[in-house]
């Protein structure tokens, strides 16, 4: 079980959350008129890092807020969790 620290609810089992994928991607949504290549990169391409990964989790079984978690994809160590969209958080780029 991963233990994820929700900024509102505290440390909870990951089964309370729904995984939302790579958080770094959703922060750079292209403009509606952007060229197809920009949309292709946004919709399909991922860094898919081995190691530090910023990802979204939705606390569906509790406060229903989205949070951004920094997790290692090999060791699963979680090093930061902040409210999604909080650019001042330590986990954001």
């Amino acid at each position: 079980m991963l233990l994820i620290k929700c900024p509102w609810c505290g440390e909870r089992d990951h089964t309370e959350f729904t995984y939302g994928g790579d958080a770094s991607v959703s922060r750079v949504r292209p403009a509606a008129q952007a060229p197809p290549a920009a949309w292709h990169d946004y919709v399909y391409l991922r860094d898919n890092p081995l190691g530090r990964h910023l990802e979204l989790w939705h606390h569906t079984a509790s406060c229903r807020r989205w949070i951004t978690v920094e997790r290692d994809t090999l060791s699963h160590a979680i090093t930061a969790s902040v409210p999604a969209g909080d650019r001042s958080g330590s986990g954001e780029r």
């Binding site: 079980m1 089992d13 995984y19 292709h40 399909y44 860094d47 898919n48 990802e55 994809t73």
Partner: protein, 418 residues
């Protein structure tokens, strides 16, 4: 290389089977090769074999960072089938199934391919209708498919819970009799031995750490056992596709996720086919040793760890018990994880990469094992001719940019949903 035969067994019996030669050499890497394949799993070894056999390119090295077949080739649930609906997938996987049917003879190595059938269960009339549609699509492609009603399912798999009390009562199923299972390690070993016999160098404990470039194209690989020069490099590294492509500065439409599988303690024969659950994600067969071999869903979050989490495991066995109440008192014997390269449409990528001389065979999601022979065959063709074969044209990397995605499940660009 001496052929395996009953006469060889008799000959070696005289000396107590103590003098069998090793199945393949253990050469040191040469300074250069015509083609280097990264990844000594089934796909990489099959590619090397078909490069040598079909295209006469024998100066080939297969580089494996660990041991042969130690990745997903040795971690899958060994299911082989071609029950696809989209034309490109149906053609490719049926070609693969036909190669499977002759593989033991082709490789002179028993891969224990057992055409015990693959039965997909439907749990509602709507799902059975959808299976009828898929079955009809398969038959139009010349693939065998049979729609079973509940009584026909009962006759085939009597231990299933087919009562109305079941949480999701079984309505029927779609059966592909030519599907089945194979011994996964033997596939890696068989291709390794056959490729080695044709002159391919198989180099284990040799990790690739980078690519060398010259004039806008690849010119070699950097490895933990020194640099190797080569004009053509094939990547067949499954879950590490994105990680290896990143060494060449490329991003892929792939996320790596962990998928678990497990076996129970051995039982007497109780299941002589492959059964998949239609109301959840669960598939099961019984190995020749008697273990129930089971798998289900991903753990759902990005992972490069070859181990998973208990909640995903618990969901798989809960699904299993809904089908086979007899499983409730079984002990699990082993469980393990493999790293899946999940693409954005659930279909693989076999083709050229934007860097000249670099080719990718990856994005296999859940389904790489059954594709092994065809994957190697078309990838060898792609590398030898520097263009895809008709069978893998649709699996190009460019399909995501042009909109020609092959989304068999219709799940959209969400890798863990496929």
């Amino acid at each position: 290389m001496a052929r395996y035969s009953i006469f060889e067994i008799a000959r070696h019996a005289v000396t107590g089977h103590r003098h069998w030669p090793r199945a393949w050499r253990d050469p040191a890497p040469k300074a250069s090769y015509d083609v280097v394949i990264i990844g000594g799993g089934g796909h990489g070894l099959a590619t090397a074999y078909y490069l040598a056999k079909e295209h006469g390119i024998r100066n080939v090295a297969v580089l494996e960072k660990g041991w042969l077949g130690g990745g997903n080739t040795g971690r899958n649930t060994t299911i082989v089938r071609s029950n696809y609906m989209l034309p490109a997938n149906a053609r490719f996987y049926e070609f693969s199934l036909k190669l499977w049917e002759g593989l033991s003879a082709e490789l002179n190595f028993n891969v224990m391919f057992s055409q015990r059938g693959v039965l997909n269960l439907a749990h509602s009339d709507a799902q059975l209708d959808a299976f009828a549609r898929r079955g009809n699509a398969m038959r139009l492609h010349g693939i065998d498919a049979e729609l079973l009603d509940r009584e026909e399912v009962r006759a085939m798999v009597p231990l299933l819970d087919l009562s109305e009390r079941a949480r999701y009562p079984v309505a029927g199923g779609l059966l592909q009799r030519r599907g089945g299972t194979a011994r996964h390690d033997a596939v890696a070993w068989g291709y390794a031995r056959a490729a080695d016999g044709l002159g391919v160098d198989i180099i284990q404990n040799c990790a690739v750490t980078g690519f060398a470039r010259e004039g806008g194209r690849v010119s070699g690989v950097e490895t933990t056992r020194g640099p190797i020069r080569t004009p053509k490099i094939g990547i067949a590294v499954a879950g590490h596709s994105g990680h290896v492509a990143a060494m060449a500065g490329l991003r892929l439409p792939i996320e790596s996720h962990v998928l678990q599988a497990m076996v129970s303690e051995p039982l007497k024969p109780m299941l002589d086919t492959v059964v998949t659950y239609g109301a959840g994600h669960f598939y099961v067969s019984q190995s020749d040793k008697g273990e129930l071999v089971m798998g289900g869903d991903l753990d759902m979050y990005n992972s490069y760890a070859q181990r998973g989490n208990l909640p995903a495991l618990a969901e798989v066995v809960a699904s299993g018990m809904q089908l086979f109440p007899i499983m409730s008192r079984l002990r699990l014997m082993r469980h393990w994880g493999g790293v899946m390269d999940m693409t954005m449409d659930g279909s693989p990528i076999i083709g050229k990469l934007p860097l000249c001389g670099l080719y990718l065979d990856g994005g296999w999601c859940y389904g790489g094992f059954k594709a092994t022979p065809a994957s190697g065959w078309v990838f060898a063709h792609t590398i030898a001719h520097d263009r895809p074969h008709a069978l893998n044209e649709a699996y190009s990397l460019e399909r995501f940019a042009t909109g020609h995605v092959l989304d068999e499940k219709g799940a959209g660009p969400v890798p863990n949903a496929h």
